[in-house]
């Protein structure tokens, strides 16, 4: 008898408890969601640009080797060149995607960088970001401009590399390399323009980094 009274007592609280559980469950789907993490956009972009520079340098070296080795056995040089073209086709996607997004979003892209800087834990960096805001904006605009120029010249560069690979694929001989020298020269010229563009972007990224470094801070290696 006593047990059944206790059990009945518990069951009395079930409906309100069910309501409370539903309310808590519904609330937790939204209020418990964590804030998105701000991304160190410009730091990441600098890293990606440095990687892109290394890839373009490697590709141009492989292109030069084709001409250098043409009169001996050009096959190994061709294999290395084909591999470099494949690598740049894939590995350039990140820097190209960022350049394209920057072009699509314009000033709004930079506002996200500002939002990140306004939220960093280091108060000195926050103050430096506020203090150098106009100069940072100018650096961003220069980097943005250089990114668009790199985008414009990268497509013909890649296209000529792919054409060269196709021409030499079946038979990488001195005769074929000689016949393709116009294409080789065009690709080398376009590649140097891409390198110059990436250099300019890196220069602006370095300026931004210097503006935001508190005095006396030792740079990371």
């Amino acid at each position: 008898m006593k047990q059944s009274i206790i059990i009945r007592g518990y069951w009395r609280w079930f409906p309100p408890a069910a309501v409370a559980a539903v309310l808590i469950g519904c609330a937790s789907t939204e209020t418990a969601r964590k804030q998105p993490t701000p991304r160190a956009d410009f730091i990441e972009y600098r890293q990606i640009v440095v990687q892109a520079m290394s890839q373009v340098d490697g590709t141009l070296r492989a292109l030069d080797e084709l001409s250098v080795r043409a009169n001996r056995d050009p096959r190994p040089a061709y294999q290395a060149f084909a591999k470099a073209v494949h690598r740049i086709e894939v590995d350039s996607i990140r820097v190209r995607a960022r350049a394209q997004a920057m072009g699509a979003r314009g000033d709004a892209y930079f506002e996200h960088w500002e939002a990140y800087l306004a939220g960093v834990k280091n108060e000195q960096v926050r103050q430096l970001a506020e203090q150098h805001r106009p100069a940072l904006k100018q650096s961003f605009e220069q980097a943005h401009l250089a990114s668009q120029q790199v985008r414009e010249v990268f497509r013909p560069f890649l296209s000529d590399l792919q054409k060269l690979r196709a021409v030499l694929e079946a038979d990488p001989t001195l005769a074929r390399i000689d016949a393709a020298k116009g294409l080789i020269l065009a690709a080398q010229d376009e590649g140097r323009q891409v390198q110059q563009g990436l250099d300019r972007i890196l220069g602006e990224m370095n300026s931004m980094t210097a503006m935001l470094r508190p005095p006396g801070t030792i740079p990371k290696r």
């Binding site: 059944s4 009945r8 069951w11 009395r12 079930f14 409906p15 309100p16 069910a18 309501v19 539903v22 309310l23 469950g25 519904c26 609330a27 789907t29 939204e30 969601r33 964590k34 804030q35 998105p36 993490t37 701000p38 991304r39 956009d41 494949h86 086709e89 894939v90 590995d91 996607i93 990140r94 190209r96 995607a97 960022r98 394209q100 997004a101 699509a104 979003r105 709004a108 892209y109 996200h112 296209s159 792919q162 054409k163 690979r165 196709a166 694929e169 079946a170």
Partner: protein, 166 residues
Amino acid sequence: MKSITKKLVLPAALGLLVSVALLWANPVCAQAPGSFAPPTTPMAQRNAMNLVINQGRWFQNATRTASSYSGRGYGLLVQQFQSVRDQYASFKSTLTAQQLTAGANRVAELDSGLDIIQEAFTDYQTAVANGQSNAPAFANMCGVLNEAIGVWAREFRQDCRQLRVG
């Protein structure tokens, strides 16, 4: 005994009715009748994210086997890539306004990444039009697509973590 049963049933029924009514009214937990807005709950986002990742893997598998489809391989890859795009578009519709605002740069980069990967299809057609043999041109395209979607998927997963998806 009967009166005891009645005392239990009535509150329970009332509680159930109230719970259902609250579920129906709550805009977070339920969709109003006639509404076509996709849910933005963590579970919906997690499911959508996993669908994108899986679709990416299927696409990678397709790039490895497409050459064995004698002529139909290109169409298959185009179709599979479009499926990746479609799943990604569905995933974006599960993001909250806060996530879309905070992640606007990331979303723009992911959008651009897919546009750039799609260029591989045009590059293949150009190569063949310029006289390259179909088989090596197709193999080059498959190799690029396979690796490129892997790079994109890694960026996607990283961005999902930073956006606190799911």
